[in-house]
Point group: C2
Chain length 227, copies 2
């Protein structure tokens, strides 16, 4: 895809880099020449310009881009002005970053429906992660159902999966087992490699380092995680 990222701060810069790594054509824009130079070799193009300058902004291939994203952070005013200019010119898909609820309502009033909240979205994930001990990762399907990646509760180590009877006991479904192992690369550094092993054989013995991917209702998952 052809993507224009305006604002190459911590969020915009990382996003531009990741999108470029995934094979997209990414143009990065920033008013700071240092930020532009830091991204020069990682993107298709890195351009230094002040995005609130409508003349300068319209020289970009805006109409030709699949996505234009405004990632300017602290400077709320600039973020809003740039968003308004882009809304006026008309782009295929516009996504803007919001700094706070008031800023967000201004963006919505401008007709922007895809809004990113980098700090708040990470805060939400970490709040969930910190509250579910032993849960390495989780994925909400809806308000009541999730899929979680969790270390097997200690009291079942040594039993077979059939004896543990997680479905009968907790009403949760084990989708697959993941094994994490340390592999040393030829540079001598250790990295964690994880192997997805598939749904457990009923006769398989539960090992202490089995990581389970489990699906179920949140209340049932909580009881299962707490053992």
């Amino acid at each position: 895809m052809k993507i224009i990222i305006i604002g190459l701060g911590n969020f915009g810069g990382h996003l531009a880099e990741k999108l470029a790594q995934r094979g997209n054509e990414v143009i990065g824009v920033d008013s700071s020449i240092d930020k532009v130079n830091a991204m020069k070799d990682k993107l298709t193009h890195a351009i230094c310009l002040n995005a609130t300058d409508q003349m300068a902004l319209s020289n970009l291939p805006l109409k030709n881009s699949d996505i234009v994203m405004v990632c300017i952070g602290e400077n709320e005013g600039a973020n809003i002005i740039v968003t308004a200019i882009l809304k006026n010119i008309g782009v295929n898909r516009l996504i803007s970053r919001a700094i706070n609820p008031l800023h967000e309502s201004v963006l919505q009033a401008l007709g922007v429906h895809e809004i990113v909240h980098p700090e708040a979205e990470t805060a939400e994930r970490w709040a969930k992660k910190l509250c579910l001990e032993g849960v390495l990762n989780s994925f909400d399907l809806n308000k009541n159902y999730s899929i979680v990646e969790v270390e097997v509760p200690k009291q079942y180590v040594g039993k077979t999966y059939e004896d543990a009877a997680f479905k009968e006991r907790y009403n949760v479904t084990v989708l697959t087992i993941i094994k994490h192992s340390e592999q040393s690369s030829f540079l001598g550094k250790n990295k964690i490699v994880s192997n997805v092993e598939g749904a457990p054989d009923p006769n398989r013995i539960i090992a202490a380092d089995d990581v389970l991917v489990v699906f179920g209702e949140n209340n049932d998952l909580q009881k299962f995680v707490r053992g």
Copy 2:
């Protein structure tokens, strides 16, 4: 849990609020009285102090807390100093925010192993989301396997799940179907309610608004999503 959050900016503030909503005892700390006042009613306690002041910091119930998190952002120096003070005093679990790779290596040198990167973590999720069209949500199990929430590919609407034969055709497993529907609350506002319906009956007819939760290897998922 008892949690102390130092730095109530966009990230720290949201995190403190979310943790408090989940029933934890949260003490929020910030050097700005405005930030402290904004959080007063949402947390157990909100305290105004300069966290780089070791005397002031040690008056907090540090040893008694399960988690202490340094969420100071822009002020790299302050973040490092506060982290160093906490490492010295010794807390049960210390998590610090890193602003950039150099800052992160300093934190690691100080012995901090749990590090948050709010902007970079959100950038990663959005890069993935933008690249997988039609994928509403995804959950990495490891480098090669994921679980994705995706709208059913249009060409299968009207067929039965058995005829569609997703497992045979793409080597992906449909874990469950989710139905999203609009419900109007008595305030007249519409909200989206999603119903997790479980694994599909082979004779069930695929509807255009079926949302599938699918598990498989990333390359197979890509082919499936692209239809």
